[in-house]
């Protein structure tokens, strides 16, 4: 198991290198620079700024310099936030985004697996059709529609919850953003669980267990173990979806996470901030893919390399 984890981690390194390279050269290819203001700076001041940030060196030099700093764990200074490094910005924003993302993931897994199992156990019932319809709807309502709708209903209409703001992560402020992030995931997980569990429940082992008179709860536990494999495989894309969703959610609810830095950084040509964010997101997605593989190996002995 540890060998599998290490091997997959090692495979992630070239992927990260590709990400760093592509984002570095993409940013530099683009017209405009980080110090292009509406009123152009004096040439001498511009020269100084470019020297301080190392932009006067040749592109390959800068690229190698960036990679070398990256190996030391240094993401460089931010170009648009004065006196702050990219790492400082992440230290502020990451806790917010991670809190939202992990809560949303937990909620999506709990509700998605629960509703999907319910639908699979009572196939063709009203509950099944209800879950199917809700799942299809949740997949078709974009987060940028769901977020303002939730704001209207719970914030402006019922006045139960604040429509935005962070306030140190108060639970009241978390409800709507987490719900918005989790909504499409709930639908995806519920559909997958239903399809997979329904197939497992028709399979031979389950019939045998029924014939042997095992209590339904025990049968469900056995069946779920196998049926959850596709759901676990979905964890990687789910994490990516949560990170993308956080861009919208943080914009609509005004939360100080890293999703906002991304669009803002790209608009300001803040090279290091954008590259840092892309690398961070890529690392998180790779990490989740590895976790998904490990969880799959835990659930299914056939997937273990030492078996």
């Amino acid at each position: 198991m540890i060998g599998l984890a290490l091997r997959r981690l090692a495979q992630g390194v070239p992927t990260l290198l590709v990400v760093a390279t592509v984002s570095f050269f993409l940013m530099r290819l683009a017209p405009g620079g980080p110090f292009d203001l509406e009123r152009p700076l004096a040439p001498a001041a511009m020269e100084n700024l470019r020297r301080v940030y190392g932009l006067d060196r040749s592109l390959p030099e800068q690229y190698l310099g960036y990679l070398a700093a990256l190996l030391r764990g240094d993401l460089g200074p931010s170009f648009s936030h004065r006196d702050l490094s990219v790492a400082d910005l992440f230290a502020r924003g990451l806790p917010v985004s991670l809190t939202l993302g992990s809560l949303a993931l937990l909620l999506a897994l709990a509700l998605g697996i629960g509703l999907g199992s319910l639908a699979a156990l009572r196939r063709g019932s009203l509950a099944d059709r209800l879950v199917g319809g809700l799942a299809a709807l949740s997949l078709s309502v974009p987060s940028f529609v769901a977020a303002p709708l939730l704001q209207i209903v719970f914030g402006l209409g019922l006045r139960l919850l604040p429509v935005g703001g962070w306030e140190g992560g108060a639970p009241r402020n978390l409800v709507l953003p987490v719900l918005t992030l989790a909504l499409p995931q709930i639908g995806a997980i519920a559909r997958l669980t239903r399809a997979s569990l329904a197939e497992t429940l028709r399979a031979q082992p389950v019939r045998t267990q029924r014939a042997m008179g095992l209590p339904p709860g025990r049968i469900l536990r056995h069946a779920l173990r196998g049926a959850l494999l596709p759901v676990v495989a979905l964890l990687g894309p789910l994490a990516a979806g949560l990170l993308t969703g956080s861009v919208v959610v943080e914009t609509v609810f005004g939360l100080p996470g890293i999703g906002r830095y991304f669009v803002e950084g790209a608009l300001n040509r803040d090279y290091t901030l954008v590259m840092g964010t892309v690398l961070l997101v890529a690392a998180l997605v790779i990490l989740f893919n590895i976790l998904a593989d490990l969880a799959a190996a835990l659930l299914d002995p056939r997937l273990r390399p030492d078996a």
Binding site: G12, P14, T15, V18, V19, V22, S23, L26, M27, L29, A30, P31, G32, A136, L137, L139, S140, V141, P142, F144, V145, A147, P148, L149, Q151, I152, L156, G236, A240, L243, T244, V247, V248, T251, V252, F262, V263, A266, L267, R269, V274, T277, V278, V281, A282, V285, I286, N289
Partner: protein, 367 residues
């Protein structure tokens, strides 16, 4: 499509599809939305960018505008501009009878303010009294309908939603073709080549899968000026991975069949193999995947437009309108409801259609 006993698998698939209620409903909804977007803007009778400054942020309503509540303030504004006071207002079947008074005399030339305001037709002076200090004017009221209300500039939301729908639907179709074509080419090449080439090509797909690709799209769109072409390229570049995997798997499965080997042995070229043997045999799964790709592409486009990185003014798409609506939820929630309703209805219909297609093509699913 007739004949329940059609033996060919494709005929059976089509038959099942026609019988499926949700597929039929989805097709009807999609056809209605597409027709409305195509011809609707002409039928509403006004250009999408036409603004009515006196009719800003009207709620949706089937009754003709201006309503008496908006009429009075608009009249008072005009009277103020004419340096006159509004003494009497009387409405009779679409015509207003106004009595304007001014101590220094009412300037008749200033009556042009009335037709200029979009709400009124050409005024006609009925009576002049009190040495020109009291003027009675008859003016027709324009009857305008805004079934879905107006936005912050007083533009008709229905027209704007329909025009925006054109862009969203076109982007959905074209980007799907781009992504689908790329995926088919990549997957078929890998599947036909086999060996090291196949391994390298699919490894590249795996690496790309692990990337937060949407973030790259955002970088691309921000760095190079946002516009329709760039969006099409960006979305096409992101969404082809699934199709590539699917077509490769289908090609590999086919390449073991006898007719395929025979074609190869006869020296049929790669392109011809793909068009004559791979695509016709993989048509079902490819169509299902393409149908499910359309809503994803539309979603991605509106996501970008929502962030202000997609379609730019004066052009508009559903994502742009939803973003405008989200900014005005407190004062004008209908600005969100209209475009969001069209967007969600389209996405639901496309997803249901794709599911129904998948069910119909899957021989294991219930009869």
């Amino acid at each position: 499509m007739s004949g329940a006993a059609l033996p060919a698998p494709r005929g059976r698939t089509a038959h099942r599809l026609v019988r499926s209620g949700s597929a039929r409903a989805s097709l009807v909804v999609l056809a209605l939305i597409a027709l409305a977007c195509l011809f609707g803007p002409r039928l509403t009778g006004r250009a999408p960018e036409r603004a009515y400054p006196d009719l800003r942020q009207l709620p949706p309503s089937l009754t003709a505008q201006p309503s008496p509540t908006t009429l009075r303030p608009a009249l008072e504004r005009i009277a103020f501009r004419m340096r006159a006071a509004l003494a009497e207002v009387e409405e009779r079947d679409g015509r207003l009878r106004l009595v304007l008074t001014a101590p220094g005399g009412v300037d008749e030339r200033a009556l042009v303010y009335l037709p200029r305001s979009d709400l009124f037709g050409t005024p006609r002076v009925v009576a002049r009294e009190d040495g020109g200090r009291r003027l009675t004017v008859e003016v027709p009221v324009r009857r305008l309908h805004f079934p879905l209300g107006t936005d912050i500039h007083g533009r008709d939301l229905l027209t704007r939603i329909l025009v925006a729908g054109r862009i969203s639907l076109v982007v959905g179709l074209v980007a799907t073709l781009v992504a689908g074509g790329l995926g088919i080419a990549w997957g078929a090449t890998a599947g036909l080549a086999g060996g090291a080439v196949d391994a390298a090509m699919m490894r590249a797909v795996d690496v790309l899968y692990a990337l937060p690709f949407v973030f790259f799209v955002i970088v691309l769109v921000v760095l190079f000026r946002p516009g329709l072409i760039l969006i099409l390229i960006a979305i096409g570049a992101v969404e082809w991975l699934d199709m590539a995997r699917l077509v490769r798997a289908q090609t590999l499965a086919l390449s073991r069949r006898d007719f395929f080997r025979a074609a190869r042995a006869l020296g049929v070229s790669g392109l011809r193999l793909v068009t004559r043997h791979v695509l016709p045999n993989a048509l079902g799964p490819v169509i299902v995947a393409a149908t499910l790709l359309v809503p994803r592409v539309i979603l991605l486009e509106s996501f970008l437009s929502f962030l202000g990185l997609g379609v730019q003014e004066p052009e508009t798409s559903w994502g742009v309108l939803v973003a405008e609506g989200a900014r005005a939820i407190e004062s004008a929630p209908w600005m969100l409801a209209g475009p969001a309703g069209f967007l969600v209805a389209t996405l639901v219909a496309l997803n249901r259609l794709g599911d129904a297609l998948a069910d119909a093509a899957d021989p294991r699913s219930g009869l």
